[in-house]
């Protein structure tokens, strides 16, 4: 048997600690409860956003809840751009909380203990990558009211990093121009972007620099098209993070250049 990365580099758990935490200390029938998987990553190690970028893989969570309970999709905090030699990944260093909302049923017996389990499949990388799996459990009892748990500040901190809806009076659009998309954002005040993170792979070139210029009433952002983009796209979806640290969910309609329309009619 050849030595494998796992045997040389140790196990994924040596580089990250995972825990399943709850924002409140009890379950109340019918009332939404936030839970989450927290990653505490060793210095220099990272895990991934829902679109991992050029390499890597996002964490995958298999929930098991008692009958009648529902759980939402993961609410992904905005990622950081992790630049490698000639590639760029999207992920998290240091720590991240992947939140999900649980909806308990209306009928529950008071005092009953409830077990929520999560099987987490994840990848942690430094220069090298190690896949890991972790089984996590959380037991909460059903009560008529629930107080905040000691983990509450972690949930508040994570909410700060969740992309929010863009202000209604802002306008965002893009044009497809040669090998790039030019995004125009009209805002009610001066905004400075940090980064656009695409939700879908193979739309923009992750490693290409994103050039932003301030224009009257907003900003302009140049994104290089992915080499894998084979046909015009109707919209770019993703998250835009501004210098203020605020992140916004964006769905950017993409206009095709006029000559492309002419060509397609011929």
């Amino acid at each position: 048997m050849l030595p494998t990365a796992a045997s040389c580099q140790g196990k994924a758990e040596e580089h990250t600690t995972l825990s399943l935490i709850s924002e409140r200390d009890a379950i109340v029938r019918g009332r939404q409860l936030w839970i989450g998987i927290r990653f505490d990553l060793q210095d220099g190690w990272h895990t991934y956003w829902t679109n991992p970028g050029d390499s890597g893989e996002p964490p995958r969570i298999e929930w098991q809840l008692p009958t009648g309970f529902q759980v939402s999709d993961i609410q992904w905090p905005h990622p950081e751009r992790l630049a490698l030699a000639s590639l760029a990944d999207y992920g998290y260093e240091d720590q991240v909380l992947l939140m999900a909302a649980v909806r308990p049923p209306e009928r529950l017996k008071e005092g009953e203990s409830t077990k929520i389990t999560a099987q987490v499949h994840y990848l942690v990388c430094h220069d090298v990558c190690i896949p890991g799996q972790k089984h996590l459990e959380l037991s909460l009892s059903v009560q008529t009211s629930a107080a905040f748990s000691p983990a509450r500040p972690l949930f508040d901190a994570a909410r700060q990093k969740l992309p929010r809806t863009m202000p209604r009076n802002w306008k965002i659009s893009a044009i497809s121009a040669g090998d790039e998309f030019v995004v125009n954002l009209k805002a009610d005040k001066l905004v400075k972007p940090v980064q656009f993170f695409p939700l879908h792979s193979e739309q923009i070139e992750n490693a290409a620099p994103q050039v932003a210029t301030a224009v009257p009433g907003g900003l302009r952002l140049h994104l290089k098209k992915s080499e894998h983009l084979r046909r015009p796209i109707a919209r770019l979806e993703g998250v835009i993070v501004l210098a203020s640290g605020k992140a916004y969910k964006v769905r950017i309609p993409v206009a095709q250049p006029r000559n492309a329309h002419t060509q397609s009619k011929n």
């Binding site: 050849l2 494998t4 990365a5 796992a6 040389c8 050029d54 390499s55 890597g56 893989e57 995958r60 490698l84 030699a85 000639s86 590639l87 990944d89 499949h121 990848l123 990388c125 220069d127 090298v128 990558c129 190690i130 896949p131 792979s201 193979e202 080499e227 894998h228 084979r230």
Partner: protein, 201 residues
């Protein structure tokens, strides 16, 4: 085996300057690289045959998924038996994960019972960068006319779990089957998945 000393000096010589972006539908850029047996291979010498390029790093868990399950070896055997040229390319820089000497690679190939046509050593990353190889594995397929017909992942399930292989759609086999049957390739590109290629920093 005869050794031309000149080739030993030039482990990898890229014929077309970098900055050229590889695109499915375009000519696959030519390159020249030495294999683990000291033989030099040029892509253009395989004109008239299908060529598969497989980016490789034996320490990467995604590469291990496909070798420890025997999937990659099975593909190599199946397609080389049908006349396809299979070139494994190792672009890890010295000191980085997956970097191997010629001897180490030969030991690996025999231990894993792999059967690529050749394993090309690309420690400077010239071939990797020419093709913008991003991950291990990252797969490319070139048709007999020298045109790139596939660029992307090995299959449709981007995980490290061997159990996913049997239910995944293998894009390399699909591209070869489509093309050999005279059909357009149904999935000509996909997002490659795996570890980042360990180029020099």
């Amino acid at each position: 085996m005869t050794h031309n000393p000149w080739w030993n000096l030039v482990a990898v010589f890229v014929l077309i300057s970098s900055g050229y972006a590889v695109k499915v539908g375009d000519s696959a850029p030519d390159f020249q690289a030495m294999d683990s047996n000291g033989q030099v291979h040029k892509l253009s010498q395989y004109h008239g045959k299908f060529v598969v390029l497989e980016w490789h790093n034996n320490g990467c868990p995604y590469t291990q998924k496909h070798y420890e399950s025997g999937n990659m070896q099975h593909l190599q055997k199946e397609w080389t038996n049908k006349g396809v040229v299979w070139l494994t390319v190792i672009s890890s820089a010295p000191g980085e994960q997956g970097y191997v000497t010629a001897q180490q690679e030969n030991d690996y190939v025999s231990k894993m019972k792999a059967s690529p046509t050749a394993a090309l050593l690309d420690p400077r990353g010239d071939v990797g960068k020419l093709y913008s190889a991003k991950t291990t594995p990252h797969m490319f397929v070139v048709n007999p006319a020298g045109v790139l017909i596939y660029d992307g992942a090995i299959d449709s399930k981007a995980t490290t779990e061997q159990a996913d292989i049997s239910t995944a759609k293998n894009y390399v086999s699909q591209a070869l089957e489509d093309s050999m049957a005279g059909r357009p390739v149904s999935t000509p590109t996909s997002r490659p998945y795996g570890c980042s290629v360990k180029y020099a920093h």
